[in-house]
Subunit: 421 residues, 2 copies
């Protein structure tokens, strides 16, 4: 049995016919290494935006089912063209959409989760010597309804296929050269990490380093699929390998620094201190599908017998949260609800910090020395996050990057869609 490599190319990598021909070369290179290759592609460049625009011209509130029918066509164009490009070089290739393979999902439109992938057709075609080109981002229900996987969907398709096929590795080709210690636009000597654990990558991703969608990293972790993030354009650069922490030698306490400017802090003040008030508060938010990130409950004020609860939500969820919290305020008898959008969450992430005391204090002291006020702190096993003022975000990232010695001698080349800081 040959080893199977799953490759994934995003929309910018297949934006025009010249780029599709380049992708074909990258695919063939892997095939010529003696591996079986399964390629997952997204829709070409701005195809999805164009289709969404057409839909909105026709119906301001299109049904999710018809939207999935519409958007899933974009990937089908890409797979056919990439197959043709591979065939033009004399190699065998065959394209499949999600229905043809059987990438089964829940019966939910626009953000379905994959529940199973049939491998029969894939294995048969690999045995026949084909390179297989698969439409990312889409799935099919047991009833034959077409679904899409939502944000990060094509990455998730690729990782799930790699898991189902027991692939050697899943290579995510993108327009950045890998995972960096921090945003190279903020810290020019940010260094590319050769490897990082799933857990660290998840914390980095949640903390705002949107190279990979957390969902694909979670799937990779669940099935122990080694994931490589690498550049579509610099093939001699091996990018960053993401794998299980047990396979890594952790010789650094901190892997990276990230900043997230997309959150809003909410404080619900003077909630009468009765059992279950936190549960009530957060179940109301959960019912509205609002994800909560940091949560801090202060000590009860003995004299008043009330609690303050502070937490952060995505700025996208703010209107919904405001609506819900008006009701919650009345329900809990809280004094007031305050919103603060002048915040940045700065985090240091590292699986190595577990055994090394003093990392947190170094972080706090560094921020203090830089004159940065900390509004809130939250920690996990491999992450420490501080909420600070937006204006201090860059300064904080630079100072933390330096104090933990994350820089390299080279100036990183910055391209593509790194997060705004």
């Amino acid at each position: 049995m040959k080893k199977i490599i799953v490759q994934k190319f995003g929309g910018t990598s297949v934006a025009d016919t010249e780029k599709i021909k380049n992708v074909a070369q990258t695919v063939i290179r892997e095939k010529n290494n003696g591996n079986d290759v399964v390629v997952v592609v997204s829709a070409m460049g701005h195809t999805t935006d164009h289709l969404v625009k057409l839909a909105n011209e026709i119906n301001p509130n299109p049904s999710a089912r018809e939207m999935d029918m519409l958007l899933s066509t974009g990937e089908c164009v890409s797979i056919a063209l990439l197959s043709m490009a591979i065939q033009a070089t004399g190699h065998k290739a065959v394209s499949f959409n999600a229905t043809q393979i059987g990438i089964l999902t829940e019966n939910v439109h626009s953000k379905a989760r994959i529940v199973d992938i049939k491998t029969e057709k894939l294995k048969k075609n690999l045995e026949e010597g084909n390179i297989i080109v698969v439409a990312g981002f889409q799935g099919v229900t047991e009833d034959g309804e077409i679904t899409t996987l939502g944000r990060g969907g094509s990455d998730t398709s690729a990782v799930a296929l790699a898991a189902a096929l027991n692939a050697e590795r899943c290579d995510i080709y993108t327009d950045v050269e890998g995972v960096y210690t921090t945003d190279p636009r903020v810290v020019p000597n940010a260094s590319r990490l050769d490897s990082i654990s799933y857990e660290e990558m998840l914390e980095l991703a949640h903390a705002g380093a949107n190279v990979l969608h957390p969902r694909s990293v979670e799937t990779a972790k669940q099935y122990a699929v080694p994931l490589r993030v690498r550049s579509s354009f610099k093939l001699d650069n091996m990018g960053t390998l993401i794998l299980g922490v047990e396979k890594m030698e952790i010789n650094r306490p901190v892997a990276g620094v990230a900043a997230d400017l997309t959150q809003v802090r909410i404080v619900v003040r003077e909630i009468p201190d009765t059992p279950g008030e936190a549960a009530t508060l957060f179940s109301y938010l959960a019912d509205e599908n609002i994800s909560v990130d940091m949560i801090i409950q202060s000590y009860a004020r003995k004299e008043a017998n009330t609690n303050d609860i502070a937490f952060t939500v995505s700025i996208d969820d703010l209107p919904k949260a405001q609506e819900v919290l008006e009701k919650v305020k009345v329900k809990l008898g809280a004094e007031s609800v305050k919103f603060d959008d002048d915040i940045a969450k700065v985090s240091i992430i590292g699986a190595g910090m577990i055994d090394r005391p003093g990392i947190a204090s170094t972080m706090f002291k560094t921020l203090a020395d830089a004159g940065i006020n900390i509004k809130m702190i939250s920690t996990s096993e491999i992450k420490i996050s501080c909420l600070i003022q937006k204006a201090d975000a860059q300064k904080a990232v630079k100072a933390l990057h330096e104090v933990f010695n994350l820089g390299c001698d080279e100036i990183a080349e910055v391209k593509g869609t790194l997060p705004d800081v």
Copy 2:
């Protein structure tokens, strides 16, 4: 049980979002008449041309399988958008591609024939009050391979669906107002036919009046599906109803006059007169998939013991035919092969000519009086065709249209894609 009406809208009818909204209105109008409606749509405007261009940039000789994967996306965009447009008006609609319904075809790419259509999902969705929007032009094999139906594919999809659902009628909405007695650009007072038989329509279509592809008419005839050709833009005009000759009262000997300028005459001269030479000749052409239209074998020349065989093929097939005929010439020991592309085939068509003698002689006399030389004649039960010089085609059509009293008082309004004469 409600009556089922199948409607078909071509690419120009759904070329942009405004036009798609107009189509939605036409669909709803039929639904509001109390009928169940199944709508078949083609790809938007120039979508197919654009996709073909992309494919050619990537691979000058793309595989038919991947081409079908690519082109089938165009109709899937249209069905999603039309469903959204119908839903925007408050009606229930659901779109299906060929795979979802089970429009089963032979396992042939780019010109598959429909072998069966599953009606379970369609009937269930009609019962639930949905307007069903179906992707035309595409099918699926038993193995789940995506196929396309080739030229006239969406018309054929619509007629086959109407047959499978035992529909009351199949309405083909197009950019012409119906079937005319001849090309209104040649004869301004050409009249729209209220009704015409399948057979007449087939002969008209083969003779060059390309309002409908013959294939869809043949399917309609086979399953006795009444077919209406009507304008997308003038809904008060009922167009032309095409139906079985047994349901018509034929009160006119000639229904229409057509000219076809896309043929080439080929004469194979002095073939030694042995049994089977015609079979040999045409089986060679059939092996190369070359369709032959008119065939004339002259009387054997007794003195030389040879035959001349003349026939016509489509000008598109000429290069292939020339290649084949070089071999055939040697094989049969023929003296020479001559090609003549300065020809037009002018035909009069009418189911009423069967019982009325003198139609053929009227045709020949009319052409003679107009000073037009006849190069070849061929007849069927309901058609008489004469091969003449290209330059005489317009004059011939005008003269025949007049002698058979086909004109009306009004000047036909000419739009869209009538055949060039």
